[in-house]
């Protein structure tokens, strides 16, 4: 059973207490977007076998949305972080790198993560 720690209320919640929200860090497309951009936003998913970032809601707890880094192959949880964050924290990146040395973040500078 999957257990994630809610970064807001600190509760260690098992998955029946949570609602999944799919891939994290999707960029919303505005009214000027092309059909291709809308398709990518709505449907094209990375569907990673490995380090995966996703949205969760602590539905039967504090009710807040947060983000989690999880390995879809091994089910290892690398950490959870607040939703108002552009990228995963350095600590989570380090955890993921420790488990998967070949993995590199697909954003430019991990250390520039902004915590809101």
């Amino acid at each position: 059973m999957l257990i994630l720690t809610c970064p807001y209320c600190g509760v260690k919640a098992e998955e029946t207490e949570l609602s999944p929200g799919g891939e994290a860090h999707l960029k919303r497309i505005g009214p000027d977007g092309t059909a291709e951009e809308f398709e990518a936003y709505l449907f094209a998913r990375k569907n990673i076998k490995g380090v995966h970032f996703e949205r969760w809601r602590h539905a039967y707890g504090c009710g807040k949305w947060f983000l989690a880094a999880r390995d879809t192959h091994t089910m290892q949880v690398y950490g959870t972080y607040r939703a108002q964050t552009a990228h995963a924290t350095d600590e989570i990146v380090a955890n993921a790198r420790q488990a998967r040395a070949e993995w590199v973040p697909d954003w430019p500078q991990a250390s520039e993560a902004v915590v809101g």
Binding site: L2, S19, A35, F38, A44, T72
Partner: protein, 417 residues
């Protein structure tokens, strides 16, 4: 060397000589340098694609490569249900084609796939489902797919072990397809593999794809754990790992992979001779020829590749089924397993050309691919042979997500199907 034809005479002959004359059903050759068509994935869909490429289009320079063993993915992990009572016309067309092919598949392949058209009921347990299934019956009648709406008393007659009173999940009626049923899932893969091998095709197991070579937007070869294999055309028929293969070829699919679970009980005496699906509670059940109750559950709600699934889904499935079938409450479960299903946004499959020339995909069958195997192979063979989809596959192109042309089966099928 083509395998010997199976018949009652062959059994009699072998009985007289201690069964010493049976040969292997299919050959296990090493890959050649090049094939006209390489199919990745030796599950039901991949092997059926190869079979109809040979049978309908005369293309036999084909290799079917498989990273594990033949039919060891979702083909060997499903609950073997076959039906064609879908809401949308393109779905009904391809699933009913599959059902019709299943009806004669044992004869066509000279291999007993144990197709058992025992009838199938989808229970309506909420008012919403009653309306939905009545609509599906009307749609099916217009499509020429024989289904009927049955009242609770008739459900009880067809399935005496069912509890139709509720209180939590009362049976308000059902969508009944008398032609639906089950087949032996491994035999479907084995039968197609044998027929492909007899046509001179290569079925190569333990051969994992590690990369896809392209040049000028055209496929050149696949790199595998058994070396480089050149090809004119490449068909990706790998279900849960479709996104990973697509990434190797440099494009992205509208697919998410999640585990779907099933389990099987200890064998008991015959008690239920139809397939019963309860989509509201994510449980479906049939009785195998060995007497085991075969039970399918719901999918996990998050991406994973573990072939395991979450424990609480088993609890939910069993809890609901026990109320609907009180007599199973003391059954012991023998095995539980998971398969990785490839879900699309509209819960309909993708049979499509891709941004890379010569590469074709067949994926997105999600939780209900087994029933479609012959029809899917038929349509995919047409797509690969001609380079463009035929009438069965035309609506299932991956560009439908860009164009907003969905084939929405998520409502019609509940969640699991």
């Amino acid at each position: 060397m083509p395998s010997r034809r199976y018949s009652v005479f062959a059994i009699a002959r072998e009985a007289l000589r201690q069964h010493s004359g049976w040969s292997r059903a299919w050959a296990s050759p090493e890959p050649r340098d090049r094939y006209k068509v390489v199919i990745v994935g030796a599950g039901g869909h991949g092997l059926a694609t190869a079979y109809y490429l040979g049978k309908n289009h005369g293309i036999t320079d084909v290799a079917v490569i498989e990273k594990g063993w033949l039919g060891g993915g979702n083909t060997g992990r499903n609950t073997t249900i076959i039906r064609s009572n879908y809401l949308q016309d393109p779905s009904a067309a391809i699933y009913d084609k599959a059902l019709k092919l299943y009806e004669t598949l044992s004869q066509d392949l000279n291999y007993n796939v144990m197709f058992s058209p025992r009838g199938l009921i989808m229970l309506a347990q909420t008012e919403h489902e009653v309306r939905g299934y009545r609509r599906t019956v009307h749609a099916n009648n217009l499509q020429g797919v024989a289904t009927e709406w049955v009242e609770p008393a008739r459900v009880k007659e067809l399935v005496p072990i069912i509890n139709i009173d509720g209180p939590r999940y009362p049976v308000l009626g059902g969508l009944y397809q008398a032609r639906g049923g089950t087949a032996r899932h491994d035999a479907v893969a084995w039968g197609y593999a044998r027929a492909c091998s007899d046509m001179g095709m290569h079925v190569i197991q333990n051969c994992e794809v590690t990369g896809i070579e392209t040049a000028n937007g055209q496929v050149q070869a696949v790199n595998t754990t058994k070396g480089r294999i050149g090809c004119d055309k490449l068909a990706l028929v790998v279900a849960g790992h479709s996104s990973q293969l697509a990434e190797m070829a440099g494009f992205r699919l509208p697919i998410e992979s999640v585990p779907l679970q099933a389990m099987v009980s200890e064998p008991i005496k015959p008690c239920m001779d139809v397939v019963v699906m309860a989509n509201t509670v994510h449980g479906y059940m049939s009785q195998s020829d060995k007497g085991e109750m075969v039970i399918g559950g719901g999918t996990d709600s998050y991406n994973a590749f573990t072939q395991r699934g979450s424990w609480h889904h088993i609890e939910e499935t069993v809890r609901a089924l026990i109320e609907t079938f009180p007599m199973i409450s003391r059954l012991k479960m023998l095995r539980q397993w998971g398969g990785i299903v490839d879900m699309t946004g509209d819960r309909s499959p993708i049979l499509s050309t891709t941004p890379v020339g010569g590469i074709f995909v067949n994926c997105g069958w999600g939780t209900g691919g087994f029933k479609a195997i012959p029809g899917s192979g038929w349509a995919m063979a047409e797509l690969v042979a001609q380079g463009r989809p035929g009438p069965l596959a035309a609506a299932f192109g991956m560009n439908r997500f860009r164009e907003g042309r969905f084939i929405d089966e998520s409502v019609a099928a509940g969640v699991a199907h």
